[in-house]
């Protein structure tokens, strides 16, 4: 076995090679970054490497998921009975609401047929779990446990029980990364449910705050207004709740009102989310803007 001491004797002859090797690698990484930033050509490379990363993600996620599993397996019979009765009560309520929804839906379809508008297609959904893995330190991103194998695609919308969570930005084979709507680089086209006023909600980097920029001072918007996805832009299917307006500040000197909204989804607390396969997006021309 070569001892660490003998490294030094070899070093002097290797030093120029070292600098050259580093320069080559640095050039290669800059090339990679440029290509990666501008184009999507490197998706295959990313996918290949992400196959080696997946076991790491599973290992890191393991303690949390084991803990959750232990909690469910060791919960007492009483607790389970209690939860069961609570859930069946909830189910009754949602079913009652769904009945109305079914009637409304058929009415809507009839009216649309009268207007000769294209009928809306219901979206396909699937539950995915968020892995307890932290990702990109510069972004509000999450890792979910579904990937290409489950037909996840880039730009797919994610919702939880209360509203829109974000969109998939990178699909691996078995897991993917999603950007939350609160990321400072994220924008989502919305409309005010009450008036139909269309605007764009920008993320701010805070989990409980979105901003509506470019709304004129005289825009009809009030505290408490619900913002739903407008479906423009083609990424998010229309009609899902996004946020509730929290404050409206009208400064006469400034061209735009300052409007802040609170996301309806619990962005930093959710564990399970739903992936939406929007039928409308796939039939129309695919239009991928962020």
């Amino acid at each position: 076995m070569v001892s660490a001491r003998s490294d030094s004797q070899h070093r002097s002859s290797r030093t120029p090679a070292l600098g050259l090797r580093w320069l080559l690698l640095a050039g290669l990484s800059i090339l990679l970054m440029v290509v990666d930033h501008r184009e999507q050509h490197l998706d295959a490379v990313r996918k290949a490497i992400s196959a080696t990363v997946y076991p790491l993600r599973v290992l890191v996620d393991a303690p949390v998921s084991t803990w959750n599993w232990l909690q469910t397996t060791t919960s007492s019979r009483n607790e389970l009975l209690l939860e069961n009765s609570r859930l069946s009560a909830e189910r009754l309520l949602t079913h009652a609401r769904l009945q109305r929804y079914a009637a409304l839906e058929s009415e809507n379809a009839r009216l649309r047929a009268m207007l000769e508008a294209t009928p809306r297609v219901t979206d396909r959904v699937r539950v995915a779990e968020i892995m307890s893995v932290s990702s990109n330190p510069y972004r509000h991103a999450i890792v979910i446990d579904k990937g290409q194998q489950d037909d996840v695609y880039d730009g797919q919308a994610l919702v939880d029980a209360d509203g829109v969570v974000g969109q998939v930005i990178e699909t691996g084979l078995l897991s993917s990364q999603a950007l939350l709507i609160s990321d400072p680089d994220h924008a989502i086209p919305v409309e005010v449910n009450r008036t139909g006023l269309r605007t764009i909600a920008f993320g701010t980097g805070e989990y409980d705050r979105l901003e509506l920029q470019y709304l004129p001072n005289n825009a009809d918007i009030e505290v408490g207004d619900l913002l739903v996805t407008s479906g423009l832009g083609g990424v998010f299917p229309p009609g899902y709740p996004v946020a509730v307006v929290e404050s409206v500040e009208r400064v006469p000197q400034e061209p735009f009102a300052r409007v802040a909204a609170r996301p309806t989804a619990a962005l930093n607390q959710v564990r399970e989310i739903m992936l939406i396969w929007s039928a409308q997006v796939s039939t129309e021309s695919p239009d991928n803007d962020g």
Partner: protein, 162 residues
């Protein structure tokens, strides 16, 4: 010979895997800004102790994996890690004879440079990154270095005497 080489590699690969896991482990929001650059510290140690086996090439490959694990630009961590490891290998003889306090200060400078490269790339690519997160890893990494050095020294010593 092949077995011997494997035995040499095992501790390095294992520590790198653990460092990678710590890099993607979830942390409470308050502690996130102070997450030390585990992979960087590990690579600094091994490239200082075994510069012939672990140099810019291994750092570059590790960086690519880290890029995918964190979802950053492909090549960002690879560039930063290989730059720091280049400096470490270049000056490994000097670093080895430094007293611990001086070595820690040098490592602090290296972490600072590492963070600077990452921020610089973000700036050029137009990815917004809060400047406040620059100093967190430098502080925590510097404080942790003596511990890392001692711990890895124990691993390295056992490996050599085995």
């Amino acid at each position: 010979m092949a077995e011997q080489r494997n035995a040499r590699r095992l501790p390095v690969v294992l520590t790198l895997i653990i460092a990678m896991m710590l890099a993607i482990a979830p942390l409470p929001d308050a502690a996130k800004a102070f997450r030390p650059d585990w992979v960087l510290l590990t690579l600094i140690y091994w490239s200082m102790a075994l510069p012939r086996n672990y140099s810019v090439g291994s750092a570059w490959v590790t960086g690519l994996i880290l890029d995918v694990a964190q979802g950053t630009l492909l090549g960002q961590h690879a560039l930063a890690l290989s730059a720091i490891v280049f400096l470490t290998v270049r000056f490994h003889l000097l670093l080895r004879v430094f007293p611990l306090s001086q070595m820690t200060l040098t490592v602090a400078a290296l972490i600072g440079l590492y963070q600077f490269i990452l921020f610089w790339v973000n700036g050029v690519a137009g990815i917004s990154s809060p400047a406040a997160t620059f100093w967190g890893p430098v502080v925590s990494g510097t404080l942790l270095w003596p511990l890392v050095y001692w711990l890895f020294g124990a691993v390295n010593y056992r490996r050599r005497s085995a």
